[in-house]
Symmetry: D5
Subunit: 143 residues, 10 copies
Amino acid sequence: MLKNIPSILSPELLKVLMEMGHGDEIVLADGNFPSASLAQRLIRADGHNVPDLLEAILSVFPLDEYVDKPVSLMQVVPGDNTKPTIWQEYDKIVQASGEPFGEFEFVDRFDFYERAKGAYAVVATSEGALYANVILKKGVIKV
Amino acid sequence: MLKNIPSILSPELLKVLMEMGHGDEIVLADGNFPSASLAQRLIRADGHNVPDLLEAILSVFPLDEYVDKPVSLMQVVPGDNTKPTIWQEYDKIVQASGEPFGEFEFVDRFDFYERAKGAYAVVATSEGALYANVILKKGVIKV
Amino acid sequence: MLKNIPSILSPELLKVLMEMGHGDEIVLADGNFPSASLAQRLIRADGHNVPDLLEAILSVFPLDEYVDKPVSLMQVVPGDNTKPTIWQEYDKIVQASGEPFGEFEFVDRFDFYERAKGAYAVVATSEGALYANVILKKGVIKV
Amino acid sequence: MLKNIPSILSPELLKVLMEMGHGDEIVLADGNFPSASLAQRLIRADGHNVPDLLEAILSVFPLDEYVDKPVSLMQVVPGDNTKPTIWQEYDKIVQASGEPFGEFEFVDRFDFYERAKGAYAVVATSEGALYANVILKKGVIKV
Amino acid sequence: MLKNIPSILSPELLKVLMEMGHGDEIVLADGNFPSASLAQRLIRADGHNVPDLLEAILSVFPLDEYVDKPVSLMQVVPGDNTKPTIWQEYDKIVQASGEPFGEFEFVDRFDFYERAKGAYAVVATSEGALYANVILKKGVIKV
Amino acid sequence: MLKNIPSILSPELLKVLMEMGHGDEIVLADGNFPSASLAQRLIRADGHNVPDLLEAILSVFPLDEYVDKPVSLMQVVPGDNTKPTIWQEYDKIVQASGEPFGEFEFVDRFDFYERAKGAYAVVATSEGALYANVILKKGVIKV
Amino acid sequence: MLKNIPSILSPELLKVLMEMGHGDEIVLADGNFPSASLAQRLIRADGHNVPDLLEAILSVFPLDEYVDKPVSLMQVVPGDNTKPTIWQEYDKIVQASGEPFGEFEFVDRFDFYERAKGAYAVVATSEGALYANVILKKGVIKV
Amino acid sequence: MLKNIPSILSPELLKVLMEMGHGDEIVLADGNFPSASLAQRLIRADGHNVPDLLEAILSVFPLDEYVDKPVSLMQVVPGDNTKPTIWQEYDKIVQASGEPFGEFEFVDRFDFYERAKGAYAVVATSEGALYANVILKKGVIKV
Amino acid sequence: MLKNIPSILSPELLKVLMEMGHGDEIVLADGNFPSASLAQRLIRADGHNVPDLLEAILSVFPLDEYVDKPVSLMQVVPGDNTKPTIWQEYDKIVQASGEPFGEFEFVDRFDFYERAKGAYAVVATSEGALYANVILKKGVIKV
Amino acid sequence: MLKNIPSILSPELLKVLMEMGHGDEIVLADGNFPSASLAQRLIRADGHNVPDLLEAILSVFPLDEYVDKPVSLMQVVPGDNTKPTIWQEYDKIVQASGEPFGEFEFVDRFDFYERAKGAYAVVATSEGALYANVILKKGVIKV
């Protein structure tokens, strides 16, 4: 543990967030996401939910201003009646982070899997809500 | 060994079952299956048959409700007269597991090999019955 | 995630608990414990506290009945006025687990470090309470 | 699987048995033995009992004729009333193997652990009987 | 060394033969074959010839009955007058093995190289005869 | 790079600082220190001096309050007239960090080497000043 | 550290520069470049800017005379008004190096990423200026 | 060092030469060749020239008689006036080796790079002459 | 395979013989020797006997002239009536090698094991004769 | 290859020389030295003699001024009449290097082996002269 760094950010996760550059993506995956089979770099966060992790990450991680929608969610599969209420929670957390943000990008389930394969890392949480996966695209640190 | 976990599930196998996510597949292979040449992750279960393993796995592993047939078998090769009686045993075990299940999907031998290559893991048993290979597709844990 | 297994138990942690045998020890370390420098096998559980982890572990892990005190705590260093209230929480959790348990063993700080070096694994939590480290000694599964 | 080789002998186990030389020892450990923490080379045989494995191993493995007692068991700890009936089963299996054998050597629990540390390999079974661990000392193949 | 296993079968080679399944292939390569550049798994048998190895392997290894010609040889390159007399020796060894066998399949040199790339393993002998390479296709163990 | 984390702290260095626990030590070594031969974990910071690194590290790293002197320097070797002026710079940086600090501990050259061998990590800078090595002992994060 | 070699060149960086041959490329990346996700070989130079590194590298590294423009920069993205003043600094450093040099090659952002993927190495600096990435193509040492 | 083996052949190089089979190629690369970026297996011979190495290699290495030109050189790039005098030296060494040899094959620079990528190994010398790279194709040992 | 190098010397074995220096020892072990448990570097030569290997090794390997007896054998264990006739064969081979040699050193069984642990390498043959192990001490190559 | 760095210094050797710090030692070993069995880090320089390497190393490597004799040689073994003339060559090279140097330290053969075990690296040359081994102790770079 260090001063002023949220303890939910593990040493390995913080290292990965630091290594990422402009345009690299990270997936915060829920507990049912096939994280281990898709990830180039897998970081486990068993027992945690996505909102706690999202808030901690955004305290150190800039979002990409070069794209319109730097935060992406997985679209509900056609025919599925789920109404993911967790998205509103995400909206509040991103707004509160002070990072520039308008609205979410929505990505089809299988396109989402492709994005996850290309992402720099996938964080495997135990989030129980459905359609709770998030992709963050890293922005630029201005010195 | 732990409390309430069948001892036939090795530490490595249980770890793999936990790592798998929605839609990932695992192959329970008979003793003549080319497991080592096809598997991305190979788990050996020498000396065991498939029914014992299948029953133990289904005690912890949910089947996928997003597809019609989450359990697949290898079709008898045309011209081969084998009548795999072991399939009825599998049917009883899956029914008894309480997982949602209608009927098996049947997959051509060489298509089965391709599925095995893409599977998250292959468990190599010593099952002596022919056409005894099974693919399980993982479902969602509802919290 | 699997059926009936607490999600705070990561695949790696469950694997390690399964691999341990009679008499092997595991340390649940607080966030200030020098886990990485002492552990033979290090399992990170950043962002978690010890009580949640302790309760989950004891749902699958037997305590050793061949010793008097299978659960050990780190003694308060002489001259330090800390009164670790978390110990009462631990007491309740162990009692509730159904495992045979009388009272805790107390171990001097530097002896505790030596025990940690010899332990099968150390789980590094982010527990903020002081003197919150615990050693569990594994018992026998009776078949 | 190969012709005339019992399927309970995994590829890795047979390789290890072949690599061993005169005087090297192998431990067949029960399910509660701390196999993973003591073994130089760990071979898992989850879900199997010791008698099945012992019989299969002795079909290919010679016992050492240069020592009086090439098969060793763990002595019952003083104060423990257990009467291990599995030892008679072991006796029959060793007699039936055709290997030269008089009686077992009995080794104190902690001495047994030291022997296990020095052994070439430990096979971790799920044997549920208590005091069911066995050490075999390899003999010479006469050409 | 073990009882009843030919000593020319190294621990690693026997392990590989056991791991192979129905339809997997192994190449017994002569001393001039580019074994190390083509093999997925390379097993060296320096100083040995192919007939000794072939005979030992067939004592434990079943040939594939699902194909017409489970044993393949490298065709003499057009324009080369070599008459490989070693093939008759191979014919006798395969006949004597009791495995079902009619005649050899002949494979063009560069097709043979492609088969070797796809084979489960290549055994690099020091066989001095030309065109002495052999591919064996593994069959099924019937229990 | 991340928000509010000095860029001189590399991903690997920050990870190591996070992994360290109460009482663990880290060496900031000058350019002539035998870092690579003594370090358990070596982190290179070529081209940097010690003061810049020290200041950045103390912005996140607590010093140990359980010992009198949590910052140690290498004593000038008897007979050497060097007067290390860099020590005053260090004193200012540590004072400014807000960490509790009285005065430096001075350690004999060869004792310093022994401490470095036991340290969790050594950071190899290119500091050109003589006797510029520093050991920091980590304290406790209070939640 | 060695005589006459700038200390900003780490042992690993100098090794990589030596290993490179005629036509191989190295990227000096700014702090926001996705170095870790694109690099075949990643060399970290956290806390350093590009000009210091560029000057040090060109003191030992020849530029390619077989191409017109052996030094490449990333073009400003259309619509972005940034005027990278750091390019003039680069121009002076390259001129002063004595290596043959006329003008820079300019490469589109995504083409630049492709070049980085094919480069022998990427050096990740903490340079804060935008569009500060440089590719150097290695020339021939004449003996 | 061994009896009758030239000391310029390192243990690793001799091992590689032995492992190669009929038709495998090895590149003797000059000091400016991009050996490390192209080689499947890289063997460094820093400080050595190509002729010394070529002579030593041909004392143990047969050239391929199944192709017309088993020794290949890199063609001078069109527009370059270099006249590589070292080729005559190579011609003498190959003639003197007793291996069957008529004339060199000449390969375009970029085709040469492709051949190097497919070669079994590349030996990186410090040869200063230009166009001094050589490819040798291995022949058959006749017993 | 290479010109003038016996094919029984595998690439790995020849590499090891080259790496050895003055005073280093190599063990030629019979098929019952515990080679795998004692060797620092294990080289398998399954299916071969010791005399063939000994003769091939001595064709390239010098014996140590700085000691009286550079070739050592394992003494017959007291009480064992074996008369190892293979020793006379060894004597002839060493005499014929041209290396300086008077008589064998005889080493007690357990001292021999200690020597094997310290040896640079152990070659595991399938030699069936008893007491057939040999230690060779390497001499100096005179240039 | 780089500008102004002798090509006999391989990338790996230069890296090692840079990593070494004050007081670390490197051995330049002759062709008969047991380099591979003693070295913590082994760098091969097959085909080279010691004087060429010594001269190249001293062009970048400072000798230790804190000890009297930073260059050590292996004493002639009592009873051996060898008069190593190569030592005078070494003397000239060290003198010419400009490094402070009075006379050599002489070390008994077996003490020399112990020093080699503790050295940061051993460079294995093919030097044919006897008693040609050298130990260099690294000094301080003054900035």
